[in-house]
């Protein structure tokens, strides 16, 4: 009882969080190496070495920061990633939290991430961090809207707001074929919410690191870990919502989900390395003028197909 309801879910989520974040770091380096970018050290050891190095550094202090919020924000972002991973179903029965409204809970994770990222930049009491924070709020609100319409789209054929039901509804046909616009839109939102690659506008180089510009040492390690973990949570949600989750022949369900998550992660990281960067203003215009109408089209498409 206590094993199935408390200990096993916690172990599953923590394992996905830790291993997943490491896999993201390694995959990103491998992809960068394949694309011919300069590399130092082995792709397998470099993330661990950087983590260990960050752990031994002192945490930077700014003048009069909001200490509690500043130190809490990376941990809260990691907690949100863990919450996102908790609603991903690994098989019909192996789900950390099989909430009846797990799709909406994932939506709240995205909304709360905006608050946490803002807090991370705001509480440092430093210029570039603050600009990064406000920039993310402007962008984050547009990401949330796109993602919400896409997720309502996958809830329609399932007639449920539960990820397990969403997966079961794809037994005949995966949502990636049924709603072809959904997965690309969700992947773009994923890159935006973890500010990865071209959509790294909150922590970008033009702001000398943005919200993380003043963060060093262990808090920086937690922040980097949380971003990678959030990308893993995104891949889990995308695999469950569009690629049939645990469904698949021959192999056991959890293994199928891991394979699909790896495929989504590889796709995201490759996109992160290949797509060009946009200035934040044009990114907001792209979100509202192009992607949001596309999300409407996706929703109408899903509704018409469900009828």
């Amino acid at each position: 009882m206590i094993w199935r309801e408390l200990i096993l879910p916690v172990i599953v989520v923590l394992a996905a969080l830790g291993i997943g974040a490491y896999v993201v770091a390694v995959l990103d380096r491998l992809i960068a190496g394949t694309l011919g970018m300069p590399q130092t050290g082995s792709a397998w050891q470099a993330p661990l070495a950087r983590g260990a190095w960050l752990l031994t550094q002192t945490a930077n202090a700014t003048e009069a920061p909001d200490w509690r919020a500043w130190r809490l924000a990376p941990a809260l972002y990691l907690a949100l990633a863990a919450t996102g991973l908790a609603v991903v179903p690994w098989s019909e029965t192996l789900v950390a939290t099989d909430l009846a409204t797990s799709v909406v809970l994932w939506g709240s994770v995205e909304a709360l991430a905006t608050v946490v990222i803002f807090l991370h930049g705001w509480s440092a009491n430093a210029l570039f961090a603050l600009i990064g924070a406000y920039r993310y709020v402007a962008l984050g609100l547009s990401y949330i809207l796109v993602s919400m319409f896409v997720l309502i789209g996958v809830a329609l054929p399932a007639e449920s707001l539960q990820f397990t039901q969403v997966v079961v509804s794809q037994a005949e046909l995966w949502n990636v074929i049924r709603q072809p616009l959904g997965l690309p839109l969700l992947l773009i939102v994923g890159l935006g919410m973890t500010f990865w690659g071209p959509l790294n506008l909150a922590d970008s180089a033009d702001l000398a690191g943005g919200t993380a510009s003043e963060v060093s040492g262990p808090p920086r390690l937690v922040w980097d870990l949380a971003r990678a973990a959030m990308l893993v949570a995104f891949s889990g949600v995308a695999a469950s919502a569009f690629l049939g989750g645990w469904l698949g022949p021959w192999l056991p369900g959890p293994l199928w989900l891991v394979l699909k998550m790896l495929a989504v992660l590889a796709m995201l990281l490759l996109l992160g390395r290949l797509l060009p960067r946009l200035p934040p203003e044009r990114c907001v215009i792209l979100m509202w003028v192009v992607l949001l109408p596309l999300a409407f089209v996706d929703l109408v498409w899903a509704g018409a197909a469900a009828l």
Partner: protein, 208 residues
């Protein structure tokens, strides 16, 4: 209906968190902190709603309040000319009236909670919170919800129309200019106009 001791413990912890963070809203000296303390309070209330098996309403509380408080903090900072929100500022006004209103509201709501008789209806065996809420909102109560939605939307548009007419430097349809930095000076912060340069003596031209 029977429930585990875990539910009771969670309820008391969440209730304490909701009350504590709600109280901190009035003690903090920053708009951003006040907004996010209020957000924490709402999240605790949302979790209590999940304990009450109102799963959709509880989770909806999380994302609605997250976006709402974020936008509220942003707009307060924009309108209050306190760019970071980290500068300490007094966050309470009209304390006497507020205290009286607060005490009255607390007494009335507590009296309702203590003295009213709540129905002792057990949960139906096949309780589906999302389905029943959806049927309620788009079934018998559809007219009420839809009219409320349209009234709210009309109110929002009306407020914007009414309040945006009068700008900081005059009416919007007249074409307003900011005042000068010195009395009767040029409007401040305007791009330099070619013609005005010539009228003022064309400082650059005379050097040739």
């Amino acid at each position: 209906m029977s429930h585990g001791i875990g539910v009771d413990i969670s309820f008391f912890l969440l209730a304490a968190l909701a009350v504590y963070t709600g109280w901190r809203v009035f003690c903090t000296d920053s708009m951003v902190r006040a907004s996010f303390f209020l957000l924490l309070s709402f999240i605790a209330v949302g979790a209590i709603m999940i304990l009450l098996t109102a799963e959709y309403l509880g989770v909806a509380m999380f994302f609605m309040m997250a976006v709402e408080m974020m936008v509220m903090a942003l707009f307060m900072v924009m309108f209050m000319m306190n760019p970071a929100g980290l500068n300490p500022m007094k966050m309470v006004h009209q304390e006497r009236a507020a205290i009286v209103a607060g005490v009255i509201a607390f007494t009335v709501l507590s009296a309702v909670a203590v003295f009213s008789g709540f129905p002792d209806a057990p949960l139906p065996a096949k309780h589906a919170p999302v389905v029943s809420l959806g049927l309620e909102m788009l079934g018998d109560s559809m007219l009420i919800f839809e009219s409320a939605a349209i009234v709210l939307l009309a109110t929002m548009i009306g407020v914007v129309v009414l309040s945006s007419h009068r700008g900081r430097y005059g009416a919007a349809d007249v074409g307003s200019m900011p005042p000068g930095l010195a009395p009767d000076g040029e409007p401040a912060g305007q791009p330099q106009n070619e013609d005005e340069d010539d009228d003022e003596g064309g400082g650059h031209a005379h050097h040739h």
